[in-house]
Amino acid sequence: MSRADIGRFLARQGILIAFALFIIGFTIANGRFLSPDNILGVVRSSAILGVMALGVTFVVISGHLDLSVGSMMSFSTIVVLDLHDKIGPVLAIPAMFAMTLCLGAFNGFLVGYLKLNSLIVTLGMLSAIHGLTLTYSGGKNLDIADKDGTWFDIFGQGTALGIPVPILMFLGIAALLGIVLAKTPFGRKVYAVGGNGTAATFSGIRRAHTVFICYMISSGCVAIAGVIQASRSLGSQNTVGQGLELDVLAAVILGGASLLGGSGTIFKTVIGVLILGFIQNGLLLVGLDFYVQYVVTWVIIILAVWLDIAAKRGRLWSSIA
């Protein structure tokens, strides 16, 4: 590899460099940061946010937003827990998927076919779904009655080949969606719609349909996240996903997807998710006072974004862009 090649490679992977720097920094601060137990723990607890971020990546690349994923995740968690005791896990999971996909379809219809502003639509859905969840549960916490007698805990607490199941699910879905986005005609349509919608339409791409499918993928991912969440503690509050929409969006943008649409990859979203997860965990291990943690978290995130941009343009600051 010539020097220029290395330069080009580094320029494309600014966020990876930032990630590596944080890992080194936290490891120096606390030696246990890189222990296998801790790494598995962090990735496992990032898996819920991660799966949601994978779906939102599609929506963002198609040029839209999905702010409803947090309250939608509360909804799917509560519904699957409630139905678990009523009709059993085998039926509860598909029933919950069907309901959550309906919510996604509603988002997709309003944004894709009716061409409404996605910020308004999904902000409204954030509130509406929260209300729906509270109405459904009557405001009460939901817990599975017989916690020891169910196999439903496998999705959140099980392990296969020594690796926690949530991690396998996260990576599996990431691989699948990564292929869909990078290697299939549908994936190219998503980029085209987000990059230049008018041009996409003139090229014969069904724009509304593509956006609709993106929202369906997003809600499908939320449903999977809901299963992991419900299975992890076999019980839940109504507000379990509250505020996650911003973390999800932060992970996607941190990974380098453009809010304007047309760019981003699944791999980079995974890195974005891991950065958020490791920052949170690293600050806990360092034992920083928690009021300070809020500040430091965002200083680190902004630094990461800056490094990414700086690597792309080859200098730390520029008067042009």
Binding site: G41, L123, G139, N141, Q229, R232, T239, V240, F290
Partner: protein
């Protein structure tokens, strides 16, 4: 969404004012208005509202106007103003925000309507405009949790070396700050050799608390006790320890005994908590307002009792419904 809220709020306000005017003309039972924080957001507040309505219905001398601010300060202020307009005899408020409601409380006080604050107190600047506070004493809850923890260590013979971590509630939230303070101040008094090694917030959230505990387990090889600001977080911490296979030697103590905490105590995995009943909370608030209207002399702070509950005495308590 906003438009719908405004429309609903306007219609509701008109209905309330009209109903209020109709009521005000009739002489009858004492009318008490309540504006709650956020009914439906958790089981405690849901049970509280049901208990409040039930207690009011059981008492022929009072009529209640039950409102809910939905967690929105602006809406709560508007509700207080509505209640003033209706000329209710007393107002009970569960503050959405301890600072922002003070001007509205002041208006009520100027209109000579006594105000009772329930559950979580408002900021001290507003005390002059409030007749009475009714609710749990969070500092005592924290220090009682310290006693539960310390007694347990003594029974296990580890009171001279035990190491404790704390998972507190949402930063900036009065209840969280007071419980932590009660615990931190009292623990060294009862068990001077027990070390509180670290405190991190779990934001009243089971999942967040589980993540915090996972990090603690990585960071510390030796943890003997976990104090959580409520049972929801306590159970989150317990789940983390169970998953790591380290729950066996750890004493878990929480506050606000939830059904999940009670069940974990039944299983012998969770040691103790503070029993705080939303039914007692609601009934105490209503009774405080009635006492005030009957002209009784009340202390400013009316705490209802929140006893200790552990695996040893849990048989004396019914399982919480929330």
């Amino acid at each position: 969404m906003r438009l719908a809220t405004i429309l609903t709020a306007s219609v509701a306000s008109i209905a309330i004012v009209a109903a209020g005017a109709a009521f005000a003309e009739a002489h009858g039972p004492k009318r008490i208005g309540i504006t709650q924080n956020n009914v439906g957001v958790d089981s405690y507040q849901t049970t509280y509202e049901q208990a409040f309505i039930a207690a009011a219905e059981a008492n022929a001398d009072v009529e209640v106007v039950v409102l809910d601010a939905g967690g929105d300060v602006a809406r709560q202020i508007a509700q207080i103003e509505d209640l003033i307009q209706q000329e209710v005899d007393a107002i009970i408020i569960w503050p959405t925000n301890g600072e922002a409601v003070i001007p509205a409380v002041r208006k009520a006080s100027q209109a000579e309507i006594p105000v009772v604050v329930t559950n979580s107190n408002i900021a001290e600047a507003g005390f002059d405009f409030v007749s009475s506070f009714s609710g749990p004493d969070n500092i005592t809850q924290g220090s009682r949790a310290a006693e539960i923890m310390c007694d347990r260590f003594k029974a296990l013979g580890s009171e001279n070396e035990a190491r404790v971590v704390q998972i507190s509630g949402q930063p900036g939230y009065t209840t969280a700050i007071e419980r932590a303070k009660g615990f931190e101040d009292h623990l060294p008094e009862v068990c001077p050799n027990v070390t509180l090694v670290e405190t991190q917030p779990g934001d009243w959230n089971r999942e967040k608390s589980q993540q915090v505990m996972e990090a603690f387990l990585v960071k510390y090889d030796d943890i003997d006790g976990v104090y959580a600001g409520d049972d929801n977080m306590g159970v989150g911490a317990l789940n983390a320890a169970l998953a790591a296979g380290r729950a066996e030697g750890i004493t878990f103590v929480g506050a606000t005994n939830f059904a999940v905490g009670y069940e974990a105590m039944e299983k012998g995995e969770y040691w103790g908590s503070i029993y705080q009943s939303p039914v007692d909370d609601a009934e105490a608030a209503l009774q405080t307002a009635i006492d005030l209207l009957n002209g009784e002399e009340l202390p400013f702070l009316n705490y209802f009792d929140t006893p200790k509950i552990t695996q040893d005495n849990m048989g004396d308590f019914t399982k919480p419904v929330f």
